[in-house]
Structure formats: structure tokens, C-alpha cells
Amino acid sequence: MLVNTIHGEMDDSLLVKKEGSIDNDNEFTTWVEYWLDGELVHRSAHVTLKTSLFTQLEAAEIG
């Protein structure tokens, strides 16, 4: 498989692949890195937002 890198497309057989994830109350994030001779040549990340923002509204009492 060809991987887009900072040096152009490279075959993944030449690269060291690292993957990871972060899972907390706010997000689920996955990332993938490809390294060539100790140099980071590709990194992608995908964040799934879990927490929405909301505003509480209320009607004040009259009188």
C-alpha cells in the first residue's frame, strides 16, 4: 500500500507503522504514524467528538 509522506508516496513496506488511540469523556481519537529511519514522515488523526456544548435557557418569573 502506498502511503502519502512528506517525501511523497512511499510503499508501506519501507516504513514503520505506529497506531494509537485516546478514549475519554470528551473524544475518541485514533492516530496513525509512519516512520522512516527515525523520521516521522506521515501522521493522520481522526477525532470523534463525544461532548456537545449546550446552553441552559430559562424564563424569569414576572413580579
Partner: protein, 158 residues
């Protein structure tokens, strides 16, 4: 039957479509939805509840990233769902993931500002996440489910 003091849930939804105007407002050129954009900010930026408009200050900078970010896909009209005599929720979520393709963003970033590019870049919301750098890759933000409890933007009464 009894009367109950409450904000009308329909009003919450109509806030999201600029139906009501309690003060001076911009003259809207069209009745269609505005264009919203998503800009990324580095970890040392200060975007928060006090942010009023998009700014390029401390926005990420790198290959294939255009200042101002990307346009948010808006195929969801705001919904307003009533849950009781006093409570309801208006909500909206972009209809697709926000994607920055084939970018190199070498300075760590941890937030995205959603803003209204049709209305003078006025700010909507800031969302934070674990800091990231991207090298010749994609960065995507997948949206939560568009519902009363998880939508990206919610206005609620209880």
C-alpha cells in the same frame, strides 16, 4: 389543564434560524442557511467563550491548510423537540465530518472554532481535543449523533 411558565421550545429552534430579533441585527441577504466554517487553533491560542469572531491569530499554519479552515457541511436543519411542559431542546450538528486533507500541521493544535462566514465570521462554538500534529496526512473531526442529548450545539430548557 394548567398553564406553565416556560420558554417555548419552538423559540429555541427559531433562535437557530434567526427568526426572532430583539435588537439590531444584520440584514440577511437570503433566507437560506448561512455558511459555517471550522478553523483550527494551536495549543497556545486563547479561543473560548469570549471569542466573538474568527481570527487568524494563532490559527494553525501549514501545507494545504487555508487560513479560515474548511466549510462545514450543513445538511441538517435545526430541530426543536419538546419534552415536557417546561423543557425542550433545540439542536444542530453538521451533517458530515470536518476533514482537512493531506495537510502538514507541525505546531500542536487542540481546538476548532466553528464560525459563521456569512455573518462577518461571527463565532459559534469552540471544541477542544487532545493536542495533535499532522504530517502529510488527514485530520478529521467526526460529529456526534444529531440528537437532543448529543448534538454539537444544543439550547435547552428544563
Amino acid at each position: 389543564m394548567a398553564n406553565t411558565q416556560s420558554l417555548c421550545t419552538s423559540f429555541l429552534g427559531e433562535l437557530m434560524t434567526a427568526t426572532h430579533n430583539f435588537g439590531a441585527s444584520p440584514i440577511r441577504a437570503a433566507s437560506t442557511a448561512d455558511t459555517f466554517k471550522a478553523a483550527l487553533y494551536i495549543t497556545t491560542a486563547t479561543v473560548n467563550a469570549s471569542t466573538t469572531v474568527y481570527s487568524a491569530s494563532n490559527e494553525v499554519n501549514g501545507t494545504n491548510y487555508t487560513a479560515g479552515g474548511v466549510t462545514v457541511t450543513n445538511g441538517n436543519i435545526p430541530n426543536a423537540t419538546n419534552s415536557s411542559a417546561t423543557a425542550g431542546v433545540a439542536y444542530w450538528t453538521p451533517s458530515a465530518s470536518i476533514v482537512y486533507s493531506n495537510v502538514t500541521l507541525s505546531t500542536a493544535f487542540d481546538s476548532v472554532l466553528i464560525y459563521n462566514s456569512t455573518q462577518s465570521n461571527k463565532a459559534v462554538a469552540v471544541y477542544t481535543f487532545t493536542s495533535q500534529v499532522i504530517s502529510a496526512g488527514d485530520f478529521s473531526l467526526t460529529m456526534p449523533t444529531n440528537s437532543t442529548t448529543t448534538a454539537l450545539v444544543r439550547l435547552s430548557t428544563t
